[in-house]
Symmetry: C2
Subunit: 246 residues, 2 copies
Amino acid sequence: MADRFLRRGDPSGIVSKLCAKAILERNLIGEGDRILIAVSGGKDSTVLCWALSALKRAVKVNYELAALHISSDFCSCCKKAVLAEKLEQFGIPLTDLFVPVVGRLKEGRRMNCYWCSTQRRTELLKYAVRGGFNKIALGHHLDDIVETFFMNLCSKGELCAMPVKLSYRKYPVTLIRPLAYLEESQIVSCAAEQDILKAACTCPYGINSSRRDMRKRIAAFTGNSGALKRRILGALLPEAGALLEE
Amino acid sequence: MADRFLRRGDPSGIVSKLCAKAILERNLIGEGDRILIAVSGGKDSTVLCWALSALKRAVKVNYELAALHISSDFCSCCKKAVLAEKLEQFGIPLTDLFVPVVGRLKEGRRMNCYWCSTQRRTELLKYAVRGGFNKIALGHHLDDIVETFFMNLCSKGELCAMPVKLSYRKYPVTLIRPLAYLEESQIVSCAAEQDILKAACTCPYGINSSRRDMRKRIAAFTGNSGALKRRILGALLPEAGALLEE
C-alpha cells in the first residue's frame, strides 16, 4: 500500500521518493559523505544529479556532490556545454577527464564495450580516491539491473546481480546506485519534466546487439510489467522485500 | 567436445549417458544405496526407472531399486497395470500407496497442486524411512529445473533452484534427481524408443495455468535453445561447469 503510493504522482516526485527510499533502506548516503557522480551525459546520470541535489536541499544530512565526465578519444558527450549548464543549476561542479581508451589498445586489438568501460571505471575510481571522495554514485536503474542479471545468466551462466552498494577492497570508495528502484520509463518522464532530455546524449557506438536482443526478450518475458520487474529485483536484492508490497 | 558427444546418438543412449554423467559428477549413487524411485505413471519417472535399471546392469556399483506410486482419492495412474508390467521388465518392484489428499482437506479448503504435492511428498519420505531406503530418486529434468527457477523468481521473488541432491535434516534420506541434465524432449524420445509412452499418464488436474504460461514464456525467452537452457542450469548448479562445454 505504502509502496504503491510511492509510485504515484508527478514524474519528478516519483523519482525523488523512490530514490530516497533506496537511500534510506540501503543506507547509501550518510553525514559528511563526499559523493562523486559519474555522468555520461545521458538521461540516467543527469536525472541522478537532479535527484541527489534536490534531496540534499530537502534533508538535514550534509553531503557533498561533484560530477565527473570521462571523455575519450572514442566518445565524448556531444552536448557538454548544455550538461555543464544543467549541473550548474543543480549546484554540482562538473569536471571533464580525458582518457585515451583507443590509444591504450594493444596493437591488433579492437575497441569493445568491455574494454572501454573497464578503462573508464578504473580512471573513475582513481579520480575519486585522488579527490578524497568516499562514494561514487552511478545512474543504473531497475531495468539495467534486471537486464544485467539476465545477461549474466544467459551469456555467462552465472547468477550475479549488480549490487546497489559495493565497497572495494582495493580502493577506499563505495559504489552506490540510488536509482535502483526506478524503472527506465519513470526516469525518462522525470527527465522530460526537468528539461534534461535536451542535454542527454548517448554513446555513438550504441548498445551492442546481444544487449539489444536481451532487452527485447526481457520485455516479452516480463510483458513490461513493472510489478514483475520489481519482484525480480526483490529476488536479486534480498532485503528489498518492501518493494513487493502492492 | 566431450559433452557434445554425450548428446549424440540414439535417444536411449543419450539418456543413459547424461544420467550417468549427473550421477558421477554429483555423486548421486553409491555402493549399497537403497533407492526408492517415486513414480507417477508419467513418462519422466518411468524413463528414470528404465535408466537406473539399465545403469545397474552396466556398472559394478551395487544398489537396490524399488518404486513407489502414490494413489489418492483425487488422482491415480490410469494405467497402473501397464506401469507395473513395465517396471517388472526393468526388475523394479512397484508398491502402491493410497493417500487421501482430498479427505485430509480442512472444511472449506479447496484442492490445489501445492497441497496435493506436500501431502504426497511427506508420505513418500515416511515410506522411504520406514522401508530403510536412504535415497529417493525423482524424475525432474532440466526443463523442470529451469521452469521452477523462473516460477520462484517471478512469482515469489526468490532466487531458488531445485537441487540435484538434497539431504533432509528431519529424515535420514537424500533426494536425488538423476535426470537433471536431460531436456524433456530427450526424455520423450527415449520413452518412445523404450515403448514407455503407452504406460504414461498424467494428472487429470493438468498443469496449472500460471505454470503453463511460464512454460510458454520460457520457450520464447530461450528460443527453446538447449545450449542456453544448459547455460542457465550451469548457473543454478554451480559445479555443472562441464555442461557448458560445446
